[in-house]
C-alpha cells in the first residue's frame, strides 16, 4: 500500500515536496498506528478503504458567528460624523488573525478621517499585529482596554462603558469580532485519533508544551479551526512551522525513550482506562492479544498508564523497583523541580532520598505508601503547574493518587504532613531550596 507523508483532514496546504492527500473529515472512520505508520480507514461512496500515512494535519475552518466579513464598505457607512466602534473579546478572547483584520480595518477607516474607537480586553500580538497597532494608533484610532463586565452593547449601535476610570456612552457603527465555535467534527476526530480535547471543544488543550500546533499525539497536528482560537497566532507562520516540523520528523522517526512499556496481556482487564488517560494517544487495542498495547513511537514516557492501570498490567521492561533508602523521600518531576535542583547547583540535601520521576502522573499509590510505612517516614512530591505539565494531564493523575492517599491517612488519623504535594516551575530554584530546608525540619 502507498505511504503518504501527510494526510490532511479538511483543507490541504499542498506542500510540493511532501506526498500528501486530502480527506474530508466526515469520510474518516478510524485511525490506527502511530507516527511514521498511521492507517486511516475512510469511507468513500459506501466503500471502505485504507490509506497509510506517516503524519496527519487536521486543518479545519472555524464556525464563525457574526463574522467580520459582513462589515459594510466605506460607502455604506451612511453617516460620516458617527464614529465607528470596534469591539473584540466580548465573550472570549478574539484570536490574533481576527484581531489583525480588525486592526487593519480600523486603521483604514481612521486614515480616511473617520472617528474610530477600538475596545479590547487583550490584543493578540504577533509580528503583523504589532505593526498594525502602531499604524492604527498613528492614524488616530482610540484604543480602550476594558475589563470583563465593563461593557454593555445597547441595540445595534449603542455602547456603554462603565469602569472605575471612566464612563462613556457611544453611538455609531459597531463592528463586533465574530464568536468562534469549534468545528462540529472535532469531537469525533478527537475520538478517532484519541487526542484530548479542551473544555471549549478544540483539539489543542491549553498547555505551554503544545505551542504552536502540536496536539499531544506525535505526528498529528492541528491547524486553524481545529485549535483553540485564543492560542492562535499568525496562520502562515503556523503552517510553515508545521510543515518544517514534519520534514524534520520524517527523516528521523525514533522512540523518545529507550525503555519499553509493556502490557501483560493476562493481567490486562481491557478496561480502556490507560487508553482514555494517556495524553499522547499512545495506547491501542491489540485484538490478537485481547489486551491493550503501548505504541512505542507514540509513547512519550510519562508512565501515567503504569499508575492508573487498575490491574497493574503495565510495566517497564527490565526495570527493577526502587527500594526505600531514607525516611525522608522526595519525588521530583524531572520537568520542573528536578531542573530547579540542578539550577541550584549545590545539593545540601544528601540526607533526603530524592528520586526524579518523568511526570507526577507516574506516581503509583503503592510506591508512595511504600515510603510512608515507618512512623518517622514522610514524603514530599514536587511537580509542575497544571498548564505546564509536559504530559498535559499527567500531573492531574499524580494529584489524584496523592489526594486519595491523603484521604486514607486522614481517615486513619495520621498527621496530614506525612504526604505533601507542591508545584514548582523549573526556574524556582530559590523556592525549592527554601521548601526542602523547611520540609526537612518539618516546618513547611
Amino acid at each position: 500500500m502507498e505511504m503518504y507523508d501527510v494526510v490532511f483532514i479538511g483543507n490541504s496546504l499542498q506542500p510540493s515536496d511532501l506526498k500528501s492527500i486530502c480527506v474530508e473529515p466526515d469520510m474518516l472512520l478510524a485511525c490506527k498506528g502511530e507516527l511514521g505508520n498511521f492507517t486511516l480507514r475512510i469511507q468513500k461512496e459506501k466503500e471502505t478503504q485504507e490509506i497509510k500515512t506517516r503524519t496527519v494535519i487536521i486543518n479545519l475552518l472555524d464556525i464563525r458567528e457574526s463574522p467580520l466579513a459582513e462589515v459594510p464598505t466605506w460607502d455604506e457607512l451612511q453617516e460620516p460624523e458617527e464614529p465607528v466602534i470596534f469591539l473584540q473579546d466580548l465573550k472570549d478572547l478574539t484570536p490574533a488573525q481576527i484581531n489583525g483584520k480588525g486592526l487593519e480595518l480600523a486603521r483604514d477607516l481612521a486614515q480616511k478621517g473617520k472617528s474610530v474607537y477600538y475596545f479590547y480586553r487583550s490584543l493578540r500580538f504577533n509580528r503583523r499585529n504589532d505593526e498594525l497597532y502602531e499604524k492604527a494608533r498613528r492614524a488616530g484610532v482610540v484604543f480602550y482596554q476594558y475589563r470583563n463586565g465593563d461593557l454593555e452593547v445597547k441595540g445595534s449601535d449603542g455602547l456603554i462603558c462603565e469602569s472605575p476610570a471612566m464612563e462613556l456612552e457611544l453611538h455609531g457603527t459597531i463592528f463586533l469580532a465574530p464568536d468562534l465555535k469549534p468545528n462540529m467534527q472535532l469531537e469525533r476526530l478527537a475520538r478517532i485519533f484519541n487526542i484530548r480535547i479542551s473544555p471549549e471543544g478544540y483539539l489543542q488543550v491549553e498547555n505551554v508544551h503544545l505551542q504552536p500546533t502540536y496536539t499531544g499525539k506525535r505526528g498529528v497536528y492541528a491547524l486553524e479551526g481545529a485549535r483553540n482560537p485564543a492560542g492562535r497566532t499568525d496562520p502562515d507562520q503556523e503552517e510553515a512551522f508545521t510543515l518544517a516540523e514534519i520534514r524534520s520528523l520524517l527523516s528521523n522517526i525514533n522512540p523518545l525513550t529507550e525503555e519499553e512499556r509493556v502490557v501483560d496481556a493476562e493481567k490486562c482487564a481491557f478496561c480502556y482506562t490507560c487508553y482514555r488517560v494517556c495524553s499522547h494517544g499512545a495506547l491501542e487495542p491489540d485484538w490478537e492479544e485481547d489486551a491493550m498495547k503501548v505504541l512505542q513511537i507514540a509513547c512519550q514516557g510519562c508512565d501515567t498508564c503504569l499508575n492508573v492501570c487498575p490491574a497493574g498490567a503495565i510495566s517497564i521492561e527490565g526495570r527493577e523497583e526502587k527500594k526505600k533508602e531514607a525516611n525522608l523521600k522526595v519525588f521530583m518531576c524531572e520537568n520542573s523541580a528536578a531542573t530547579a535542583l540542578q539550577r541550584l547547583g549545590k545539593n545540601g540535601f544528601s540526607d533526603l532520598d530524592i528520586e526524579n520521576v518523568p511526570c507526577l502522573g507516574s506516581l503509583k499509590k503503592k510506591d508512595l505508601l511504600q515510603h510512608l510505612q515507618k512512623s518517622e517516614d514522610r514524603v514530599l512530591v514536587l511537580g509542575c503547574f497544571e498548564e505546564a505539565c509536559k504530559h498535559l494531564f499527567g500531573e492531574r493523575w499524580g494529584d489524584k493518587s496523592v489526594k486519595d492517599i491523603q484521604k486514607g491517612l486522614k481517615a486513619l488519623h495520621f498527621k496530614e504532613d506525612r504526604l505533601t504535594l507542591l508545584r514548582l516551575s523549573p526556574r524556582m530554584e530559590k523556592d525549592l531550596e527554601k521548601i526542602l530546608s523547611l520540609w526537612k525540619e518539618g516546618n513547611l
Partner: protein, 224 residues
C-alpha cells in the same frame, strides 16, 4: 459490568478489629478492576494503608495480597487456594458475589467486604458509571426503544411519566434524567412513538426479586 465502590476506610478498619495474625486482601480482576475499585492497584494501596494502621495500633499483622481473575468461578479461586487457606481473615475487594463465593469455597474462613457493590452499569466517563439494567429477568427494551423504564425511571414505571418529571429531570434527583423523557424522545426519533399509546399490564415481578433469590440454568449446558 458490576460497578462497585470502596467502603470508607473507617468502616473497613472497624471490620478488622478482631484478633488475627494474617490478613489476605484479595482483589478481583474482572468487573471491579474495570470499575476501578477492587483491582490490583487498589489492593496494593489498601495493603499499604492498612499496614500503616496496624503498625500505629501496635498490632502484629502480616498482610498478604492477591488479585485473581474472577471471584465468581471456583477454578480461579482454586488457583490461589493456599493463599486463601493461610489467611486468618480475608478482606475481599470483589463484589458481593465474590465475597459469598469465597465463604462457600472456604467455609472455615471469615471474609469481610471492602467494597459496596452498587449496580450493573456502563462507563460514561473516566471513573464514572451509570446504571442501565436492574436484571429484572423479563426484558422489555423492545417496547421502549431500547431505553429501560425499569432501570432508568426512578419509580420503574411501565406507563410513565409520572407527575414528577420536570424539564427532562427526575423529581427524585434533579441531576437524574427522567427515564420517561428519554423513552419518549427515543421513540420519537425512530418513529415508534405510537408505542407509548399502548397500556402495559403490570409487570410480573416474580422474575425479579419478588420470586426470591434467583437461579438460572442454561438448558444446553446445565444438567436436566
Amino acid at each position: 459490568m458490576i460497578v462497585a465502590e470502596q467502603k470508607k476506610l473507617e468502616e473497613i478498619v472497624e471490620m478488622l478489629k478482631g484478633d488475627f495474625k494474617t490478613l489476605l486482601i484479595s482483589g478481583c480482576g474482572t468487573c471491579v478492576t474495570v470499575s476501578l475499585s477492587g483491582g490490583e492497584r487498589e489492593v496494593e494501596a489498601m495493603a499499604g494503608l492498612l499496614n500503616m494502621h496496624f503498625s500505629q495500633a501496635g498490632r502484629q499483622v502480616k498482610i498478604e495480597t492477591n488479585t485473581i481473575k474472577r471471584h465468581c468461578d471456583f477454578e480461579f479461586i482454586d488457583e490461589a487456594e493456599e493463599e486463601f487457606k493461610n489467611a486468618d481473615l480475608i478482606l475481599s475487594m470483589a463484589c458481593g458475589v465474590g465475597v459469598q463465593h469465597l465463604v462457600e469455597r472456604f467455609p472455615e474462613k471469615v471474609v469481610v467486604p471492602a467494597l459496596n457493590t452498587s449496580f450493573y452499569g456502563a462507563t460514561t466517563a473516566i471513573g464514572e458509571w451509570q446504571e442501565r439494567c436492574l436484571g429484572c429477568g423479563d426484558c422489555v427494551l423492545d417496547k421502549y426503544g431500547g431505553v429501560c423504564p425499569v432501570a432508568r425511571c426512578s419509580k420503574s414505571l411501565l406507563n410513565g411519566p409520572c407527575g414528577g418529571s420536570q424539564e427532562g429531570y427526575c423529581e427524585v434527583d434533579p441531576e437524574t434524567d427522567c427515564g420517561w423523557e428519554l423513552i419518549f424522545k427515543r421513540l420519537q426519533s425512530i418513529n415508534m412513538l405510537e408505542n407509548v399509546m399502548e397500556y402495559d399490564e403490570p409487570k410480573n415481578w416474580q422474575t425479579f426479586r419478588d420470586g426470591g433469590p434467583r437461579k438460572m440454568r442454561n438448558k444446553e449446558y446445565g444438567n436436566g
